[in-house]
Symmetry: C2
Subunit: 153 residues, 2 copies
DNA sequence: TAGAATCCCGACCTTTTTAGTCAAGTATCG
DNA sequence: CGATACTTGACTAAAAAGGTCGGGATTCTA
């Protein structure tokens, strides 16, 4: 039931971009430094997020990344699904990535019905939280600061 | 956010033992056949469940496995935790297997607070379902049958 | 228009995990 | 005794995880 390191890094990076939304692009280097993420690895991840349409990039000297859509249009579920595949604990209860399992009778499988509930619980939380919500939480958790740049994400 | 094949097999096997609780032991072979689980692999898994104290075994001709504790004393959370480790999606919100993560300030980490909720949601379901509950669901899902042996799990 | 900064892309690498398999041994029943 | 089951530990192949690296393509600025 694990989120991979890659997935966690992606969320942290997106959150940084969320906090800086509206004020130009942010460099990979800065995100990596602030978040303790290996720079080269983060490059790879952001590239992936870019081809998935979550972020945009700008090349050259004043280059960097920013969110493509608004922070309130991206849910954590979206991001994690793209990076990790199904949110469901087993394929046979996944809505987006259904896969039949090897049990004798799927329709009457009790384990499946429990996993269904687990899936719904997970999705319920993750669909309900957008990047914008996440940014709000950052502000709530850290109290009001003078300078937006001082927020530690 | 995945349950491994091994974990799924374990749950299925335990459920079979749950359904047969009180009527002696069940052979590996029978569980494997009924549940489409590779026999040798299942041996390994049951052994693991045995050393963890979930099941007991009996050797020899009329040998097999049965639950060690009562079906209502074993929750799915227990089993999965033993097999897969933490239920939490990230180590920094795990109660039983806590591990610090690399983010700058864990206390004020917004992602962590969301993952906390995800963890609680997962644990909420899985702690609440015992093997006995699972057996009930089997009966509910399949309707009342003549012979207890006819239940397909 | 050169050069520095930045993203871009694909290949590569190492370690760990997953999903099994297998052989030989030990206990038990009849 | 001998057939039947569990026991134990080693072994393996394939995939995933977690990165690293070199060199290319853009863009800004002096």
């Amino acid at each position: 039931m694990k989120l991979s390191q890659r997935g966690e890094y992606a969320l942290r990076a997106v959150l940084v971009l969320g906090m800086n939304h509206g004020s130009g692009v942010v460099r990979i280097r800065d995100i990596a430094q602030q978040q303790n993420i290996p720079r080269r690895f983060l490059e790879q991840i952001l590239n992936d997020l870019k081809s998935a349409g979550f972020v945009l990039s700008k090349r050259g000297v004043a280059g960097g990344y920013r969110l493509q859509r608004g922070p309130n249009e991206i849910s954590l579920a979206d991001i994690i699904r793209h990076l990790e595949g199904p949110l469901a604990p087993v394929g046979c209860v996944s809505v987006n990535y259904y896969q039949r399992c090897s049990c004798p009778d799927e329709g009457a499988c009790a384990i499946r019905s429990v996993m269904q509930e687990v899936r719904d619980a997970i999705v319920g939380v993750l669909e309900g939280v957008s990047v914008a919500h996440l940014c709000e939480r950052v502000r709530d958790l850290q109290g009001p600061l003078e300078n937006p740049l001082d927020y530690i994400i």
